[in-house]
Amino acid sequence: MKYTALILLCSWLGHTTVQAAENDNVLDELVFCLVCHGYQAQGNPSVGAPALVGIEDWYLRAALAAYRGGTRAGYAAAMDMQAAARMLPEDDFAKVLRLLNELPPREPQAAAVVDAALLQKGRESYAQFCASCHGADGEGNQILAAPGLRRLNDWYLQAAWESYLTGGRGNDSADGASQMAQFVRALPDSFDIDAVVVFLTAAE
């Protein structure tokens, strides 16, 4: 596949001076999204940056807006993203999408051996609690601002869940995620997130 450079001219720097012979002091090409999210945008758990390939454009746009607006905060990776979002000019978003579209689809992440009972439990839990918003098979529903869940990393699903539960995410009522946070906190104890993650990440 071919990478498209995400070129942000650094005109904000004014003129750049050439310094030491070996350092060019010019930031001509900034694919800084991929530094955190992985060079194939498949996600990097070490820095808490989820996969971006296969994620809906509308969701990425909304997430960026929430970072820019400061409503998505409350946990470390969100604050890293706020800083990154500050550097991305609004009109460069199309370039980001183009870049992501040229990357290969995400590799399957499901464990080779899946516990059949857990998978079934997850399927049932999902159908009971999640499907009405996120779609019968986790495909998402833009009208309800509910993203697809199938393309998310398993560790990210867990982390997001934890974040809703503990108040890291969705605390700001201006944030679309506040509805999700309320919903998560109202779920019965019997809801098994591990099982749901197994279901969502199992081969389709």
């Binding site: 596949m1 720097l13 530094v35 999210h37 940056a49």
Partner: protein, 535 residues
């Protein structure tokens, strides 16, 4: 390096991180192991030094066998570990290719001067210091302890001039909001009173029964004299203040008047005793070393010796280790490129390797993913006058309980008109989490406000500032990773085929140039051995 910092926080923790076997080696054993051997055989010494903490004790440079024809080594990242390795390899006849993702060479060995760019995600900055080589800011490592013999040996070999860096300066200030009404105090006053009280308490409190059983009459007398001298006690073994604290008035032309002593319960309120008071009693002693003109003089000197200079803006996206070499895919100037070498020395930070396609073993990947992102921040301030010298401060560090934690004064250029201060050096993860989310301008504003409590009028001297939060730096996202499960560092520095992870990230004590260089030499030792077997 970053040094001090880490050494201080980590010293206590290091023992638990370090692999037990390596920690059991005493310094004497280490010396006898490494003293007489060189070449590949010296590698066991390097290994020991990597595990054994700042005591490298002996310069150890491998003598590599001459390379067989057309042997190539690929080095990922152009920090100090890669650069030193490339220099050694080229000298032995290897072809080296160095790929560097950022716009500059040196990694965290970064000295900022006029016009330099700081590529921090969310806080890109240009250093606006005056165009004057003496006005520089070591944003990364700034100190080399005397025990770091390997990097000191390279400085000698490379002709990098060294000078003293004042690390402990009793004339510098301490300022803690809950102590002394928040007012600043000279460190020497605090230390003199703390020692005086401790000596007096000890003198009073030594149980007779213990003294009788442990010491003879003459020794008891010596102990009393020792304590008197240690605490500067009066003839009656009471502490009533000391000239060591500095005089309240007089001293030279007029008779010196002692300062009032600070109450013991007051002394306890200054967190100075937790760290600042003792930090310069480890390998970071009161005076350490620094290259004249900035830490990156080492980088410049190595670069000058390299035939193949590092390629900048070359971002590695995939690493494939094969039986007889390593394939790497990288992106440069918007194009995807491939390269291949017989060996690969990889200094890409562990936290970023999770985002690079690779064929490492699951165990190796798990260890990489478990390496936490180290957090450290520094801020440099160009001041239009060296007002601190007017306060009698020449080098050293003032400590405060505020977020900036430290103000570090330049150890050179005394008496020049302007100077650059390190206006914040933040070690605490909790403060760093907060600090990193300030914009560059907010950090300066905050550092100036806090500096006012240490130096009234501080703001008025300010000309320009620049800050670096290492855990947000582009293509780095962290530094000096420590604190993984025991054994991680040694497992990560074990070769994966012909691929070696290098950098301070594979040493048990991160954040030192010495650790980075030793990691590279450790890899070269194994490479040399493999080549010998193949020949």
């Amino acid at each position: 390096m970053f040094g001090t910092a880490l050494a201080c926080i980590m010293l206590s923790r290091v023992c638990s991180f370090a692999e037990k076997g390596l920690m059991m080696i005493t310094r004497r054993q280490l010396l006898s192991m490494t003293g007489t051997i060189s070449g590949a055989a010296g590698m066991s010494g390097i290994l020991a030094a990597l595990g054994a903490i700042p005591h490298s004790a002996q310069a150890q440079v491998p003598s590599l066998r001459a390379a067989r024809p057309r042997r190539k080594v690929l080095l990922l990242g152009a920090g100090i570990s890669s650069l030193i390795a490339a220099m050694e390899l080229e000298q032995a006849g290897y072809e080296c290719e160095i790929l560097e993702a950022t716009h500059r060479v040196g990694g965290r060995c970064m000295t900022l001067r006029s016009g330099d760019i700081v590529d921090e995600i969310g806080n890109r900055q240009v250093c606006n210091f005056d165009d004057d080589p003496t006005l520089y800011f070591n944003a990364g490592p700034s100190r080399i302890p005397h025990e770091h013999a390997t990097i000191l040996g390279y400085c000698r070999r490379l002709g990098v001039s060294l000078e003293t860096s004042v690390n402990l300066n009793p004339a510098a200030w301490i300022q803690f909001d809950g102590f002394n009404g928040g007012a600043r105090m000279r460190q020497k006053q605090y230390v003199a009173d703390a020692r005086g009280f401790l000596a007096e308490l000890t003198q009073k409190g030594l149980p007779d029964a213990w003294l009788d059983s442990e010491l003879g009459e003459e020794e008891r007398d010596l102990l009393r004299q020792f304590l008197r001298s240690y605490g500067d006690l009066g003839g009656d073994d009471r502490y009533r203040g000391s000239a060591r604290a500095g005089y309240a008035s007089g001293g030279l032309a007029a008779p010196g008047v002692l300062k009032d002593t600070i109450a013991l319960r007051e002394l306890l309120k200054a967190d100075f005793w937790r760290m600042g008071m003792h930090f310069a009693e480890s390998s970071l002693q009161s005076a350490v070393l620094q290259p004249v003109g900035g830490m990156d003089r080492i980088v410049t000197a190595v670069l000058a010796r390299l035939t193949n200079k590092p390629r900048l803006h070359a971002v590695v996206t995939a690493i494939n280790v094969t039986n007889d070499g390593v394939d790497v895919v990288y992106r440069e100037k918007g194009e995807q490129r491939r390269t291949r070498a017989d060996y690969c020395l990889n200094a890409i930070p562990a936290q970023l390797l999770g985002g690079v396609d690779n064929n490492f073993s699951p165990d190796y990947r798990r260890l990489l993913a478990g390496r936490p992102r180290g957090k450290l921040s520094r801020l440099g301030l160009q001041m239009r006058e060296r007002f601190w010298e007017a306060e009698g401060i020449y080098g050293g560090i003032s400590w405060t309980g505020q977020d900036i934690t430290q103000i570090m004064y330049p150890s050179g250029g005394f008496g020049s008109p302007k100077g650059v201060l390190v206006g914040a050096y933040i070690l605490s993860g909790e403060i760093n989490d907060r600090w990193v989310n300030l914009t560059a301008a907010q950090r300066i504003k905050s550092a100036l406000a806090q500096g006012e409590k240490v130096h009234p009028g501080y703001r008025g001297y300010f000309e320009s500032g620049v800050s670096v939060a290492w855990h947000r730096m582009n293509h780095m996202l962290g530094c000096t990773a420590t604190g993984s499960e025991p054994g991680t560092a040694s497992a990560l520095r074990a070769p994966f085929g012909r691929h070696y992870l290098i950098g301070d990230q594979v040493a048990n004590y991160g954040g030192w140039l010495e650790a980075s260089v030793l990691s590279a030499l450790n890899a070269l030792g194994d490479l040399d051995k493999k080549e010998a077997e193949a020949a």
